[in-house]
């Protein structure tokens, strides 16, 4: 099946979101609750994506030292917290993962 119609719908919704307040300003009052709720979208969505990627391995929660992605993710988080540098965070995280994988393969 082609994914194009699905992506077109997703793109249309994205465009509508970006246009929303630009188009509405001065015509409709923004509900206060909506404005406040929107502030929590970035932290909530980002961490909801991150945590399962690090913690869930082969369909089960794995908090052990054998979980390479969890360890590499923690290293990256330490870099992100200190430097706020996106590229450095990715570089350290990938390097950590590759080193852990190489060690485990020996």
């Amino acid at each position: 099946m082609s994914w194009i119609p699905v992506l077109a719908l997703g793109g249309l919704l994205t465009f509508a979101t970006r246009l929303s307040f630009i188009a509405l300003l001065g015509r409709v009052e923004t509900p206060d609750l909506l404005r406040r709720a929107l502030r929590y979208v970035p932290p909530a969505v980002l961490s909801a994506i991150i945590l399962p990627e690090l913690v869930v391995r082969q369909g089960a929660v794995d908090l052990s030292f054998h979980n390479q992605r969890l360890l590499a993710g923690l290293a990256a988080a330490a870099v992100a917290l200190r430097t706020r540098n996106v590229l450095l965070t990715i570089a350290v995280g990938m390097a950590a993962l590759w080193i852990l994988q190489a060690l485990a393969a020996r």
Binding site: S2, W3, I4, V6, L7, L9, G10, G11, L13, T14, F15, T17, R18, L19, S20, F21, I22, A23, L24, L25, G26, T30, L33, R36, A37, L38, R39, Y40, V41, P42, P43, A44, V45, L46, S47, A48, I49, I50, L51, P52, E53, L54, V55, V56, V61, R69, G73, A76, A77, A80, L81, R84, V86, L87, T89, I90, G93, M94, L97, Q101
Partner: protein, 238 residues
């Protein structure tokens, strides 16, 4: 405070926007390439992968959509997830709205299409710098356009490079791991206060617990839980 900058022409505004967007491209180009790689890896045809970069035109949503498609999620979940991940753009829309209020419909539509994280960051910096000096330039939307178009072009080009390289990168490189790493880098600046941190923790924990939900619905449930907790903590501490 220093004197406001001299009034500028449309052309000069446009080029200034392009120039100020340029340093950000250093960070954007690798993402575009990785997206191209991952999209091919998820089984999307090259043309579809490239089209997504102009249809959806939002890095994080494209990453997630690609991952969901690869995992066999149904179409409705892909659409709903793109929508939720891109909801933050409503914040940007609200933020720039006063500055583009005087423009016509076509301009508003064009700038809304170009309103990505990176174009917003550059454009709003300019608007805030000018402050109330709207007389500084009647053509500031050309600056916004320059920043947006520059980002758009580099996103398309880097996607194409990723797709071209795609077939040659082995799975053992674990490049899919750049997805959570990117978001780890982005999440800390979003944790501005206790309510935001509580929101992130609640959403993350819910996402792990809800991992087994069918159709990859865990992300949506977790986002809703995170937003609810953020609002509750904000109310409790005010």
């Amino acid at each position: 405070m220093s004197a406001p900058p001299l009034p500028s022409t449309r052309r000069r505004e446009f080029l200034a926007g392009c120039r100020d967007e340029a340093p950000i491209l250093l960070g954007v180009a690798p993402f575009g390439m990785i997206y191209g790689l991952l999209a091919l890896g998820a089984g999307l045809p090259a043309l579809t992968a490239q089209a997504m970069s102009s249809i959806v035109f939002a890095g994080s949503a494209q990453f997630i959509a690609t991952q969901l498609i690869g995992a066999g999620a149904p179409a409705a979940v892909v659409v709903a997830t793109i929508f939720v991940v891109n909801l933050r753009h409503a914040l940007y829309s609200a933020s720039v709205a006063p500055y583009v209020r005087h423009l016509g419909t076509a301009w508003k539509g064009l700038l809304a299409y170009l309103l990505t994280d990176e174009a917003y960051a550059v454009a709003i910096h300019r608007y805030l710098r000018d402050g109330d000096h709207s007389e500084v330039s009647p053509h500031r939307h050309w600056y916004f356009l320059g920043a947006g178009v520059t980002l758009w072009a580099s996103w398309q080009a880097s996607t194409a490079v990723g797709i071209l390289l795609g077939a040659q990168v082995p799975r053992s490189w674990s490049l899919d791991f750049t997805l959570p790493l990117t978001f780890i880098a982005l999440v800390f600046p979003a944790l501005k206060d206790r309510a935001a941190a509580a929101s992130a923790l609640a959403a993350g924990a819910t996402a792990v617990l809800a991992f087994g939900l069918p159709y990859k619905l865990g992300l949506m449930v977790a986002a809703a839980a995170g937003i609810a907790v953020g609002l509750a903590v904000e109310r409790a501490s005010s």
